[in-house]
């Protein structure tokens, strides 16, 4: 339904157009959970198609995204800036992916978690697209999870 290539194209487009960041597909899975201050953004899609889009990135990438979105210098970026920026990034990637799944469907408000001591699960879903990318040398993962029901 939605291929890894399509998710990668959307990700490249969002990061390139809005933030002028170069993103390329990567083959190496980088463990992001457990890394201090790594971010996980999630947006749900409901309607004809049910599922969620999850965007995860390294702490360094979270700060870089906040710097570019808000035009801040590195030492001006706060944790709130990273959370807000990761939420907007997740919203844009999720919103564009929503256009590829069967509709009509609706996009939820994004949620974001930052930290190291948590495990993010979406019970009742299966992952059918898992894109691993590299954005300006930093790991980024985009997952599309479909509801099993």
């Amino acid at each position: 339904m939605v291929s890894n290539e399509e998710v990668m194209q959307i990700t490249e487009h969002v990061l390139g157009t809005m933030l002028e960041l170069v993103t390329v597909a990567d083959s190496e899975e980088v463990l992001l959970s457990g890394r201090s201050e790594a971010f996980t953004g999630c947006v749900h899609i409901s309607g004809e198609w049910q599922g969620a889009v999850i965007v995860q990135g390294s702490p360094e990438l979270g700060r870089l995204i906040a710097e570019r979105f808000l035009q801040l210098s590195p030492d001006e970026v706060s944790e709130v800036d990273v959370i807000d920026s990761a939420a907007e990034l997740t919203n844009m990637i999720g919103g564009n992916i929503k256009g590829l799944v069967p509709g009509p469907s609706f996009l939820s408000i994004p949620s974001v978690t930052i930290g190291s001591d948590f495990d993010f699960q979406l019970p009742g879903t299966r992952t059918f697209t898992n894109v691993v990318a590299n954005c300006e040398g930093q790991p980024l993962r985009i997952k599309l999870c479909e509801s099993k029901s």
């Binding site: 035009q71 256009g99 408000i109």
Partner: protein, 119 residues
């Protein structure tokens, strides 16, 4: 010129306001959802409204419908990730004047704003 910017994302509001400032517009009022936006809209006159679609409490489409029900002809630009043709048609039917799909280049937003900002 007075502009109302309605978006639940503080990041997007900052990006939009930066672009407004760049074209000389400094009189800007912000709101975080369609309900808050409509309260602001009723409280003072605006020359342009910029709104997101997906927002909590009252979404952008409902907000636009609320404005048009008052009989106002204020230009309304929707800035959203909803890029499908069917969604654009829905927005136009609700009364949206202009439409910009996220992600967008800074120049695209500036070009759209130039249409509404007096020289």
């Amino acid at each position: 010129m007075k502009v109302l910017v309605v978006d639940d994302s503080g990041v997007m509001r900052k990006i939009i306001i930066r672009s407004l400032n760049a074209v000389g517009v400094t009189d800007v009022v912000e709101a975080g959802d369609g309900e808050e936006g409509f309260v602001q809209f009723q409280a003072q006159p605006f020359d342009l409204v910029l709104t997101d679609w997906n927002m909590p409490v009252r979404n952008g489409l409902e907000f636009v419908t609320d404005i048009r029900r008052t009989g106002s002809k204020v230009p309304i630009m929707m800035i959203t990730t909803e890029g499908q043709r069917s969604q654009v048609i829905l927005a136009i039917q609700a009364g949206v004047t202009d439409y910009l799909v996220k992600p967008f280049e800074k120049e695209s937003l500036r070009a759209k704003l130039d249409k509404y900002v007096p020289v």
